[in-house]
Structure formats: structure tokens, C-alpha cells
Symmetry: C2
Subunit: 262 residues, 2 copies
């Protein structure tokens, strides 16, 4: 990265992406909440909303737009079809394109779900002295499909997807306490250590994102991940669905601190 | 155990011990706080008080009696010399006796420190659905000397002692959150996983208490332990010191819930 984009306002960042910038969003518009995206046609929206209600830890909803609506208070003046740096389009559960805008796929019956992202609590972890390895190593957070099943909802079912951050054994308690205060962005870890209990056999081969090195004395800590609805789409095969490309998030106007509970 | 002692009042339990009952106190007077004990002559009391001030996680003070004082509001009508089921007497840092009362050793210059015990949060763990393995296995909690040094205070120095409870990987976050709310009884874990980072090479050989089996998928979680001041006594060798025998605690009139913070 040659330019420091951390001080861009969310609106400025979205304008850059709209104008053609393509890159992961980690570190952009520091202090503002980034979000996962999942978009489905209206006939599938009830199932997805119910899936979120039944699986709030992997799919905490920050906002749901009306059918056909392309902007909201979370992206004031923005356009959900152009303002994310990269998307993934699924047809019958298969990824068919990774465009940088989805204008060509847009339909008036599409319903957009904006889902909390654990990037929001990473600043709090760093502020609390807990190192965030994938930031230090300059890569995307590793994400894994697990053998844990989400609660199904209508036509939708799928595995829990988790993100993993290695944490020094002496700071796991800090990491739990800090992230517990952000339930809207996945909250406390769902698992600490024992990746095989989640059906993860090789931490060096994540299903999404990049592998990170686990330093000696660090414990792998797992948080529910907002890619979970995309995994449900891949398994449940609705005719059309659109998500963000992993690591290429929607930058919202909400501050990270908006999602902090006492 | 043939008799259910969980419903005894603390005063009744202390009376039983005073009358000669000798057994570990786990499960007795449920809902009331049990405490560690450490007693030193007045010339050493300042160092021990300073040691507590500098090491609040292993040595959270519930009360300090005046020199020669043998009772307090924490053990109304009781006698600190007789009401603990078993004691350990140290001379020059060496354990020389494990009597069931310390009347023969009592001096008017002895100062009693009553120290929070992690047994207090175990009921909250169980109520929160987190299994407590040593209770299920019917043994005393395992405790370990670590390679982590306490902050020294005057003539007193020593290692951090920790207690260990294996926790299912999916419930480590719950265990952290629940115990964080009890700072007066050691609070959140000091370490999760990676026992070698604490200098613990063999979990099956605790320095105090009993070994527990670590079920598959469980992570060893370590809390600071109130035996720490006894380890400091063993290392620093004051002429006289008296503690409780591990697992044989003082049952106080304070309720577990008295030590709960929001």
C-alpha cells in the first residue's frame, strides 16, 4: 500500500471504491465499522432474516434494506451496488463472478443484509494491548468452515464459519473480555484452542482469507464470522445471491464505538 | 462423604471443624465464600500486606485481623485458631506440622490474612453451564507453582501459584466472562492453554491438590491461586507462618454473591 487511507471518511472511501479502487479494506477509515454483505431476492429474504435471527453470533444484523433499496443511513449518499471494492455473485450456490460492481446483476427485488464484522473489535484489541497477528503479518484474517451447523431457517442451512486470531496464552482472557463488549460484531469467541473440535484439521489452510503464523505460546481463538451466510448460500443454492469478497468489506458511517455495550 | 454438609450455615460448619471434623471444605455451606489463610508475626505483616497490594490477583484480601485478634465479622463467633479443618505450620519456610488447630502455636503478635478463594466462583461456573472437572471427579483442584514471579515486597518473594480447571474449548469465553465478575476471588484467568509458558511441564503432577483428567476438547485454564503467599513463605523463610492446608479452607459468613461486581 502506497497511500494512507486510514484517515479517509467512510463517504470518501466509498467514493474511491465507486471510482474503481480495488483492495482489501483493512485499515481504511479507521474508527468506522466495516460490514459483511449478503444480498438475496425477496422470495428468499424471509429465510435469510430468520437465519440471522436464529444465528445472531455469526450473522449479527446492522441493517436490512428494503427490496430494491440501494442506500441507507449506514452508507449515506452511497450505493450498495458500487461502493464495495469487490463482490462475489452466486448462481445456484456457485460463485460465477467477482465483479467490482453489481449494477449488471441488480434487480428491484433484491434485499440487502448488512452484517457486523469482527474487524470492528480489532482496534479495541490493539488498544487493549492484544496483538492482532494478521494485521502484523499484513494479510487477511484466516477463516474456516467448521463442522458446527448453524440453526437452519426455511431453505437455508450451512456450517458455522469462524475467523481465527492467535492470542498469547496470557492475554486470552483480555481478548474474551474486550470482544464480549461488541456483540453486534460477533462478540466473544465461540471457541478457544482445540481446532479439531470444530472439524478444522489444518490451520495453515483456511477456507477463506490467508493463513497466519501462530507464534509460540499463542492459542488459536475463534470468532463467529460474517462469511457464514455466504457458506449457507453455497450449500443451499438459492438461484441468485451476492456477497462481498472476503476482506473487501462495506465501510459504513457507523463508528466502531456505536457497537460497544457497557 | 456420607453426610450432606452443603446446607450447614458457616457458623455450624466452623463449629464442626472446631469440634474435630477434618475434611476438605469443597461443597460445604454452599453459597458462602471460602477463604485462604496466611498468618505471620507482626514484624512480617507489613511485608505481607505490601505483597498483597502488589499482587492482588493471587492475593486478594477479604480481611486482615489485628495482631492477636482471633475472630472478625467474616467468622462471627468463630476462632481462627480452631475453625479451619487443617492448617500447615511453617518454621523458617519449612512445613513442620499439619495440625487441626493452632492453639499451641498462637501468639499475641500473630496477624491473620484472609484471602479470596476461587471456590467462590465455581458455583457461578456451574450455574453458567461450565463443568468444573475436579468437582465432577471428586478431587481437590490441582495447583502449580509457575515460572512467573510475583512482585516482591520487602523480605517476601516467590512464584505465582495457579489453580487449573480444564474447560471445553467452546466454553472458555464463558468461563472468562463469569470469573471476571469476581475480582475479589482471583477474577479472570491469568493464562489459557500453553502450560509450558508458565513453566508447567507436567499437568498430571500438580504441586498442591490433586491431578485431574483433562477430557478431550478441553483446554487447561489457569487462575491465580491463594496458595501463592504460602509459596512466598516457603521461599522467603520467615521464622513462623501458618496457612490452611490446601483444600481445607476457612468458611466465612460472606456470601459468594458479596464478591460479584456488575
Amino acid at each position: 500500500m502506497t497511500e494512507n487511507l486510514s484517515t479517509l471518511s467512510p463517504a470518501e472511501a466509498r467514493a474511491r471504491f465507486r471510482a474503481g479502487l480495488v483492495r482489501p479494506t483493512s485499515g481504511i477509515s479507521a474508527g468506522y465499522a466495516q460490514a459483511n454483505l449478503i444480498i438475496v431476492p425477496a422470495p428468499h429474504a424471509f429465510d435469510l432474516l430468520l437465519f440471522a435471527q436464529r444465528n445472531p453470533q455469526p450473522m449479527p444484523l446492522l441493517g436490512v434494506l428494503d427490496a430494491g433499496q440501494v442506500t441507507s443511513g449506514l452508507l449515506a449518499g452511497g450505493d450498495i451496488r458500487t461502493d464495495v471494492p469487490r463482490y462475489v455473485v452466486y448462481e445456484d450456490g456457485m460463485p460465477v463472478a467477482e465483479p467490482t460492481e453489481i449494477t449488471d446483476w441488480w434487480r428491484e427485488d433484491l434485499v440487502t443484509f448488512i452484517v457486523g464484522c469482527s474487524f470492528t473489535f480489532e482496534a479495541a484489541l490493539v488498544a487493549g494491548g492484544v496483538p492482532v497477528a494478521h494485521q502484523q503479518q499484513g494479510v487477511n484474517v484466516p477463516m474456516y468452515r467448521t463442522s458446527t451447523r448453524c440453526a437452519p431457517a426455511g431453505t437455508l442451512s450451512g456450517p458455522l464459519v469462524v475467523s481465527m486470531r492467535p492470542v498469547p496464552a496470557s492475554q486470552v482472557a483480555d481478548a474474551v473480555r474486550i470482544t464480549s463488549r461488541y456483540p453486534a460484531v460477533h462478540g466473544a469467541p465461540v471457541h478457544v484452542g482445540a481446532p479439531h473440535e470444530l472439524g478444522i484439521t489444518d490451520l495453515s489452510r483456511p477456507d477463506f482469507g490467508d493463513p497466519v503464523e501462530i507464534p509460540a505460546g499463542h492459542i488459536p481463538v475463534f470468532w463467529a464470522c460474517g462469511v457464514t451466510p455466504q457458506a449457507a448460500v453455497m450449500e443451499s443454492r438459492p438461484p441468485l445471491a451476492i456477497g462481498h469478497a472476503p476482506g473487501h468489506m462495506l465501510i459504513t458511517d457507523a463508528r466502531d464505538s456505536d457497537y460497544l455495550v457497557p
